[in-house]
């Protein structure tokens, strides 16, 4: 009996069902400890595989088949996807601008000012004339700009010598 127990490599190979290493095989046949360890770990891994696969089969139903739109989008080369994105953006922007223009056209009539009628103009004129008359009576007649004395605008100026003192 060989008392050198299985190395990790030999153990892994036998656990995976690879019995090519004759020396390791002979050792397992004669060593109860290694046999027990292999059986114990092998059944634990086997149980875990069985249970985890059942668990995954139950949960995998949530993984749906990707839609063709998603598949085609991803299958497109980088430049193609960029071009498509630019086109979609352009079309969307065009549609947006078009809709805005339409809304401006629709809303325009509400902002248009209708031309006043002749009666309204006559009323406005008479009102302005009466205001003008009223002002003339209170303040006196208007003085033409040419008659104003320009020098009067400098009356309040002080000589520079006074300011400096």
């Amino acid at each position: 009996m060989n008392f050198e127990h299985l190395t990790d490599e030999q153990f892994a190979n036998i656990l995976a069902g690879d019995h090519c290493d004759m020396r390791a095989r002979h050792h397992v046949e004669s060593c109860e400890k290694c046999q027990r360890e292999l059986t114990s770990l092998g059944s634990a891994i086997g149980d875990l595989n069985y249970a985890s696969l059942r668990w995954a089969e139950q949960r995998a139903a949530r993984i749906e088949v990707p839609s063709h739109w998603v598949l085609n989008w991803n299958a497109m080369p980088g430049w193609g996807a960029t071009l498509a994105a630019v086109l979609i953006f352009g079309v969307a922007m065009g549609a947006h601008v078009e809709m805005n223009q339409q809304s401006v056209v629709v809303s325009r009539p509400s902002h248009t000012i209708l031309a006043p009628s002749d009666d309204e103009l006559a009323q406005d004129n008479s009102l302005m004339v009466s205001i003008d008359n009223e002002l003339t009576e209170r303040i006196g007649p208007r003085v033409p700009v040419s008659d104003l004395n320009v020098s009067s605008r400098t009356v309040h100026r002080r000589p520079v010598s006074e300011v400096s003192n």
């Binding site: 490599e9 770990l41 059944s43 891994i45 149980d47 875990l48 069985y50 985890s52 995998a60």
Partner: protein, 193 residues
């Protein structure tokens, strides 16, 4: 010369077959979703995140099906895509947040509770469930590479060559990760001192 031609023909035939399999997205999802979900759940420890990554994996596989060379099985190819997505996700900040919150962490007790109940006595069933739960809990403490190597070897029953393809590593590196994982599991299960 003839041998090489025969190998090429075989590879082309298997590629054709795989492309047909990959073309039918519904069949592809039906056939592989459970195993992929299990693999990603064990890799990340979160059920919702795993479901989302498996969905992305199918979209990616279907979109890139013309790049499939037929060097490995469709299952191996899908697992390598899923593993790349897992690695990408683990690098993000979002994953660190999910890891802290862990609202949808896969419940190992619930998984172990799905063991068959008719075969043995209640005591034996309880013991079997406890040991399966223990293995699942130990797997969560391993590094991603060790856990991936262990799960692909003992759950997905892949050979070392396929594991190396899936993980994108040389076989010897895969062996190292696998043996370290086995050592930890053996030690924690009380078998090796």
């Amino acid at each position: 010369m003839q041998m090489a031609m025969a190998t090429d023909v075989l590879r082309l035939t298997s590629r054709e077959r795989a492309l047909t399999e990959l073309d039918d997205i519904e069949d592809l999802v039906q056939a592989h979703r459970a195993r992929l979900l299990r693999f990603v759940t064990f890799s990340l420890g979160d059920e919702d995140l795993a479901a989302s990554i498996v969905q992305d994996c199918f979209v990616k596989a279907w979109s890139n099906r013309h790049n499939f060379r037929g060097d490995c099985s469709v299952q191996t190819w899908l697992h390598s895509i899923a593993l790349n997505l897992v690695r990408d996700y683990q690098r993000t900040q979002k994953f660190r947040f999910w890891k802290q919150v862990r609202k949808t962490a896969a419940d190992v007790t619930e998984i172990a509770g799905l063991l068959p109940s008719a075969a043995s006595s209640p005591e034996e069933q309880l013991l079997a469930r406890e040991r399966a739960r223990e293995v699942a809990a130990i797997l969560q403490t391993l590094s991603l590479n060790q856990r991936t190597a262990f799960v692909l070897r003992f759950q997905e029953e892949m050979d070392l060559g396929d594991i190396a393809t899936t993980m994108g590593m040389p076989i010897n590196t895969v062996k190292t990760h696998l043996h370290r994982a086995v050592r930890t599991v053996r030690a924690r299960m009380g078998g090796r001192r």
